[in-house]
Symmetry: C2
Subunit: 273 residues, 2 copies
Amino acid sequence: MNAFSFNQATAQHWPVPDLIAGCAAAGVGVVGLWREQVAAYGLAKTRRELDAAGLGVSTLCRGGFFNRPGWLDENRRAIAEAAALGAPVLVLVSGGLPPDSRDLAAARAHVMQAVAELAPDAEQAGVTLAVEPLHPMYAADRCVISTFEQAMAVAAPHPVGVVGVVVDTYHLWWDDRAPAQIAQAGARIASFQLADWTTPLPAGVLTGRALPGDGCLDFAPLWTAVLAAGYGAAIEIEVFNAELWQQPGDEILRRTLAAWDSVRAAPGVHGGG
Amino acid sequence: MNAFSFNQATAQHWPVPDLIAGCAAAGVGVVGLWREQVAAYGLAKTRRELDAAGLGVSTLCRGGFFNRPGWLDENRRAIAEAAALGAPVLVLVSGGLPPDSRDLAAARAHVMQAVAELAPDAEQAGVTLAVEPLHPMYAADRCVISTFEQAMAVAAPHPVGVVGVVVDTYHLWWDDRAPAQIAQAGARIASFQLADWTTPLPAGVLTGRALPGDGCLDFAPLWTAVLAAGYGAAIEIEVFNAELWQQPGDEILRRTLAAWDSVRAAPGVHGGG
């Protein structure tokens, strides 16, 4: 049975030491972390407190944004930070179109080149680069990799374990082709993240995601596919929601754990123990 | 060379008679109309004024919303209205998930059944039902048909000319598979519509589209594919933009014609005459 991992973005104003203490107290053994928050608290200090609390790290978010100046050095730092935290996976959000460019195909080709350039560093560090396809509504400004198939094409030239793919329900639920592709992807699946879809979307379309069960998604097709691929690592709940963020961190964790229990009990979801 | 057609939604507050007079005065010979505006002015009166001005109708928007009560009668009325206007094409926006449903596959299957039920009426009326794939960000609440491939699957069981597919750049630009599929689709392409993509998206993600040239889209890949399919009918500009709608109708038409001239002159777009 896959473990639950609490992704820090779900409680984005919760200070790192409180997050660690709160998760440990709630019996959550794995967390997903974000570089900015870790850096603000201190990388070495975060690692020490994780170890002291007995917490593991499922993923570090995020590398990528290959359309920005300095992307190579920035991503090398991200790889090193993942290794320092003991995070087996660095999530890559590939970035949108470069400024003043309309060439989507060239931007996608550049992502392939960038990942190829980073793969040796990742392999040496023992970190899997996990290419995350983002919903096509982000193709212009956040991530030109829009489908699971495109993400797999970025990963394919590299060894399994060096470059993988993220499955996030929020980004892939609409794609009727994704479940069969995921089920065939085996150990390329480096992370599985849950968030629900609600409408109307807010301006900027970033912070309108919902805890599983609060939106219109059926989690069964993607969940079944991920398990069929043999995915055995932790499943994260990662929700960007402006209203949820206003709650105290331990209240957000409580609601997230309730959502986790509820979604695992849904028909067709075989994550129940 | 494909004619230009001005879609009424681009100037949504422009009264029908002013739209007809304005287009005729500007030398625009074809318009795309919407049912609500036509009904408000009067169907027979609209047809008489179109004829008197020598204007043709490229498409009527819209049928569809097969998840709503009464969809069958409503769509039969829409087919009859298209025929009465001399519109060869009725655009179908298929509707989102039914209330309280999370079953996307069932909703898509229902669209196939609904179109099959309507096809005989459309054939008898001489109107092509044009299934429009909408951007995946609308899959929950406006249209469960998200890709060109899905729309083609809805059309495939029916004769060409009875059920076709709409290509709208705003909805399909992100899909790397679409151009090759479109180029192979021949006479299934029933309408080609242009709108540009800008960010950040506004709340509700409906009214943030832009005139061609004002956003980040390269129109060449889809335009080339549509021409490769042999599409010879009018090309519409259809833009939902809250700021643009504040302008007087003839100013919107002037800007739209300037955008049309500009996009046809772009590299790789072979619409120039």
